[in-house]
């Protein structure tokens, strides 16, 4: 038994950017695809819209996940807002060997982190604005971020996303969600 059997993902977002929902949806996507176990762990305090928030998802293909503790050495970090990368608390979670998936229009210099990382960028905000995929406090970033993550990892595909989104949000909202997911799936690139 080793930690290697569990894939760990950290989400950094701001209150209202739907990162916590993303952590839950990711657990569902992987489970739907046939992973043996999954857990979504939101870190809940007294956050308000715009405050930095954190969530984790742990996935396993072959064993039960028994831990409830925070992820400290994630395999992947999803950053919903580039301004979070200036916060030391967020920077501290970036370790050697991690893959970053960042909501950003343009590539950027990652040498400031001083770590060996792999970077993917996805213009999730741009996609949401283009498709008018918004809620009261801004773009709904979870679907494009998860579309990009699916493409990068191959843990699930658009078909699985369609199934889970339909189950979670109903048939009425399916089309727009899938449009956004597909845009992200096709446009994520190495940064």
């Amino acid at each position: 038994m080793t930690d290697d059997n569990i894939i760990e993902i950290t989400f950094h977002g701001r209150g209202g950017q739907t990162a916590i929902t993303a952590s839950q949806l990711l657990a569902e996507l992987a489970y739907e695809k046939g992973f043996k176990d999954a857990i979504a762990i939101p870190i809940i305090g007294a956050e308000r819209r715009g405050a930095p928030i954190q969530a984790f998802t742990k996935l396993s293909k072959d064993r039960l996940i028994k831990t409830y503790d925070s992820v400290v050495n994630p395999h992947f970090i999803l950053i919903f807002d580039t301004s979070l990368l200036d916060i030391p608390r967020v920077q501290d979670t970036i370790k050697d060997g991690v893959t970053l998936v960042v909501n950003s229009k343009d590539p950027f210099d990652t040498s400031k982190f001083g770590k060996i990382i792999k970077l993917y960028i996805i213009d999730a905000t741009g996609i949401c604005i283009k498709r008018e995929f918004m809620h009261a406090s801004g773009p709904i970033l979870n679907i494009p971020m998860l579309g990009a993550f699916g493409k990068i990892t191959g843990y699930y595909d658009l078909e699985i996303m369609e199934k889970v989104i339909k189950k979670q949000f109903g048939a009425k909202r399916l089309e727009k969600n899938m449009m956004v997911a597909k845009d992200a799936y096709e446009s994520v690139k190495e940064g």
């Binding site: 979504a40 028994k66 409830y68």
Partner: protein, 418 residues
């Protein structure tokens, strides 16, 4: 009983849900007839989900009562239970404390109420995160209490609890507790069972039939809870509550067996659940969410070559004295982990005190190392739990009490005070 419309009859499904939602599904599966609710973090989403079920028409015939405080929640539930209905509610921390007077009333009236507790630390300082002091400090109210360590266990334990509580030879209320946020707000796969199968395990209550000792009927007026003189049966009533607790142990064991047969999920003997204790040299007694994580810690420390094991305490009331003695005869040293406080008591932790008391007078039982950790939701990592086990191993090998104990208890991972 009101028939459920065809579209809403629960079929077996495997869903990823929060612990609180699992509790709400359990109440729905149990066909509870009266829910009374007042919101409090981290329990709120239990009663929110139930109000959604009720509003959608998924729980036809269920009365959902909104009241102005937790005290009124339990007062209204007591009234409903007296009328012979299956009742449910949920609360946390301060809300449970506000119910305290009514808790005694529910147990004294022998009402089989089941209440989910998403445990949180008592204030001050204000706290909303996992700490079992809320439910453990209600020890002497006469309520039974169970602890869950997984999302599935919340669903399963609520169903098993109704079975035990409503047994005509028991008739006691029960808490089903789980760590606030750690289980209440994380999401994991849970199997929601087929309604027919649940009905088979826990038959729906018939209309207009009460409990054997209380049957509210306008045609047959009765008086409830009136004054009893010191020369009356007060002491005998109290003895009967204690006696019912002791007798409930075999019912809990039986319910767990039946549950396993029907649904395929087992929880030890219902009272405790051992993990790798058979060849263990030291062991850990632990309850709630940390018990599941401790299983991983046991596996890791075993890989290092140490024979460690653990016991999940599933019930605190009734206390499984005989099982704990049995476990304490298997090993030389037992750690007892509390995520709760009992100030001024022998160990400072409610469960470690209880374990020590249970072993009194029995020879050749394990030494006890009380441990307190994770108060007010402070994170307890897998690494920390591995270290706790390693400390036990070292203590057992060298006989030296760990250096960081205070008044005989290991207060694990204290912050440095400068």
């Amino acid at each position: 009983m009101v028939e459920t419309p065809k579209d809403f009859i629960q079929k077996e499904e495997n869903v990823i849900i929060k612990g609180n939602v699992a509790a709400a599904y359990a109440a729905k599966s149990a066909r509870v007839q009266v829910i009374s609710a007042y919101p409090i973090t981290p329990q709120t989403t239990v009663v929110e989900k139930l109000s959604e079920f009720a509003d959608n028409g998924e729980m036809p015939g269920t009365q959902y009562i909104k009241v102005e405080s937790e005290h009124s929640v339990l007062a209204s539930i007591i009234g409903a239970s007296k009328a012979g209905t299956r009742t449910f509610t949920a609360t946390s921390g301060q809300g449970l404390f506000y119910m305290h007077e009514m808790l005694h009333w529910a147990a004294g009236a022998r009402l089989p109420i089941v209440m989910a507790i998403a445990s949180r630390g008592p204030a001050p300082p204000w706290n909303i995160w996992a700490d079992f002091t809320d439910v453990l400090s209600q020890r002497d109210t006469g309520w039974m209490s169970a602890f869950c360590s997984s999302h599935q266990e919340i669903y399963d334990e609520i169903l098993m609890s109704y079975k035990v509580c409503e047994d005509h030879n028991i008739l006691l209320p029960k808490f089903v507790a789980y760590g606030g946020f750690i289980l209440s707000h994380t999401s994991k796969p849970v199997i929601i069972e087929d309604q027919d199968k649940v009905d088979n395990f826990l038959p729906p209550l018939l209309d207009e039939e009460g409990w054997p000792h209380i049957w509210m009927d306008p045609k047959r007026p009765m008086m409830f809870g009136n004054l009893i003189m010191p020369s009356g049966f007060y002491q005998e009533f109290r003895l009967k509550i204690h006696d019912a607790h002791i007798r409930a142990k075999e019912k809990i064991i039986k319910a767990a067996q039946e549950f396993k047969q029907l649904f395929g999920r087992g929880y030890g003997n219902g009272l405790i659940q051992e993990y790798k204790m058979d060849d263990a040299e030291v062991g850990m007694i632990i309850y709630g969410d940390l018990a599941l994580q401790m299983e991983d810690a046991v596996d890791y420390v075993r890989e290092e070559g140490y024979k460690v094991g653990m016991v999940k305490l599933r019930h605190f009331r009734p206390f499984p004295t005989e099982d704990i003695i049995g476990v304490a005869k298997k090993v030389k040293l037992l750690g007892v982990v509390d995520r709760a406080t009992a100030f001024g008591s022998q160990t400072g932790g409610p469960v470690s005190c209880e374990v020590k008391a249970a072993l009194h007078g029995t020879k050749d039982t394990a030494n006890i190392l009380p441990i307190i950790n994770g108060l007010g939701g402070r994170e307890v990592t897998l690494e920390q739990q591995k270290n706790q086990l390693r400390k036990l191993v070292k203590f057992n090998e060298t006989g030296e009490v760990p250096k960081d104990t205070i008044h005989g208890t290991l207060w694990d991972c204290l912050l440095e005070v400068k």
